[in-house]
Amino acid sequence: MTPSPDDPRLRLSGIAKAFGGIQAVRGVSLDVRRGEILALCGENGAGKSTLAKILAGEIAPDAGTIALDGQPIHLPDPASAHRMGIAVIYQELNYVPTLTVAENVLLGRLPHRGPIVDWDAVNREARAILAPLAPHLDPRLPVAALPVAERQVVEIARALSLDARVIVMDEPTAALSQQEVHRLFALVRHLASTGVSVIYISHRLDEVFSLADRIAVLRDGALVDVWAVNQTNRAELVRAMVGRSVEELYPRRESTPGEPMLEVRDLSRVGKLVDVSFSVRTGEIVGVFGLLGSGADVLVKALFGAVRADRGEVIVGGRSLGLPTPGRARRAGIALVPGERKEEGLVLGMSVRENLSLSTLSAISEWGFIKQRTERTHAVEMVRALQVRTPGIEVPVGRLSGGNQQKVVLGRWLQARPRVFVLEEPTRGIDVGAKVEVYRLMENLAEEGAAILLVSSELPEILSMSDRILTIADGRLTAEFRRGAVTQEEVLDSAIGGAAA
């Protein structure tokens, strides 16, 4: 039973997994060859991460088999995946912040003599593992003391130290700087040259094209297509990922911006934002693009007063709010659709109706008493207008799908009739259909004269939806582009600019 060299390193046959009624992965069959870098692409919710978790032994598939070097294997838990030589590096980092770098890298298998940990060996081994990735990193530092990007390096180092035959990387570059991305790529190529198979999950097409040997695309849990990297192109890949062409995905519109509606002047917060100034005119969509840690998220929260800025001014419709508080921002007509829908956008225990009215309570009440009928009517109208798919307005909002939850957050603000919309990652984690609806809604709002600030880490979305694009890095605005006059690469360069310099 020696594995024949013709066997693929990893063979997935008919893998399927459902959560509740939702089929996350449908009958995926896929071979990964020895020493190959296979990119796995797909939209949020396409089933990439579920597949990664199955390979990690974290969740069991409902159907299908996995074979490693020709041998069928069974992965009941993460420990057995480790033993088989399958390492998964997740998007979400799994480190113990108070332990040192070395301890985290070697967690669970610290070198020891008898019961005593051999600290010299720990640090030596950790240094050796880290050397190709981050030679400057001191293994004795606590992980909590490192910047986010370096914590990710620790995570990657840990997986590498397992002597893996298969490494699955789930969006590993989300928090990395450009230099670190280059180092990671070199490392991945080196690993592949030694026979390790790498499954590289990403929706960043540039990375995929520069790194992968083959590209596999998942959509709605099913494998759509697999190409050798030189036999496909970006447009084909996007079409395969979203199931429709880009033109269908993003509505086009003629914009005729009017007067400045939102003006931000010298907004600053120590260590996070440096003199950020810009304006958004009525009928205009301004995109803000920044990498993780660029300060884009802080900008959004500071604009609304949910994070206190140290200095600066926010002006809405010519009237200054000074440094806003959430209440003042709301009353001035700013709407904030936050990026973390469940943590920041919704009160999950409350009904659809109650979540919809949260920002308009004073408008629908008299002497502090909520007008019940008005509230119900408004909720029903909004559910209809936005085509929120829900069994009813009294259903707890937590039962709705991601896209429908997002519509509830949007609907809440639509009821408040704001003049400025600040949308943070408005299409994160929602399916393509709901995405298109959100884009249409943005277009309609802009046409009706709203000023829209779109903060997103999805470049195609920023490029297609924005009239103007601002890039932010290290808390500073680094560049401004006009719609149509810029490429993904240029925007990305400006967004990385500050961090890499």
């Binding site: 939702i22 009160v347 999950l348 225990g349 009904s351 502090g368 009813g392 009294e394 408040a416």
Partner: protein, 361 residues
Amino acid sequence: MPLGEPRPSPATGFDTATSSPGAHDDLRSPPGAPVHPTQADLSERGARVTLGRLWDAGIGLLVVYAAIVIAFSQLSEFFLTKNNFLNILVGVSILGIVAATQTMVIISRGFDLSVGSTVALAGVVTAEILNAGGSDPLAVSGAIGVGLAVGLVNGLLITVVHVNPLITTLATLSIVRGIAYVWTDALTQSFPGPNLRWLGTGRVFWDIPVSVLIMLAVFVVVWLTLRFTTFGRSLVAVGGNPRAALLAGIDVGRVQLAAYVISGLSAGFAGAILAAQLSAGSPQAANGLELNVVAAVVLGGASLAGGRGRVWGTLLGALIMETLRNGLVLTDVSSFYQMIAWGAVLLLAVVIDQLRRGEGS
């Protein structure tokens, strides 16, 4: 109790929404599909869910209470009498008033342990004002003023300085009780009988004690507030997800501050009532009341994680505890066993609640 909610249709009863036909299809259907239920459909289907949930949550406590009443009426001939029930109601009034407003605090994800001490200091202030020749209204105002002050201190420390509510109110619990002792040299301050008699032992129609009526009024006001007002809705939102409430433009700090102030005010008022019942203000009064209060609220179905609570459940919780105490006294059970019984009931209630919620999710 879901007054004002549309009645469920008799054909479908208390079905949950997920089991209703088509509900799931709606969620999964492609964007273009016509999925618009009629207006009546949208509001009715949901109401059924709420009613169903309230039903199964509230009825359990009622059953427990009925069981306790039936058991004791078998064990003691004195238990099921009008006088004894009035005793129970008077006994529960202080606890009830404070627990009603504590429900609001806990729903907002807060915690107020200082209420017992506030009741004591408010009682002492009531007695001191009366003994210094002050009028009844002045004495009651003084007591309420004590509550206002304690509530403001708690609320400002928690919402402005961001000290943990548990620590804040644990500290003020100790400080306020200490002030009551220092002020009185640890001596109970009696005051002449006629003062505040209307409040302490006064009775109105059908012999119902004034303190009981006041308690019921407090519960009705709290219920109205939670059920129908913007403030009540804000409390639930703040407790359910403070971050989301903030980002929806709700002034989270002000809402929480108000909850602590209201809790303080009600504890102050309860202090005046207790002093009136005893014709004295005692620095030892209401020792440990805060634990009974929290127990009643949790027994009633509130979540210590915030965002969920039922004020009528709190009333039932308080009644269960006081009835249990009363019944055990009538059946000559030692007070040590009473402590054990009290803890067992509390555990039982929260275990049942936990199991029920485990099934739901």
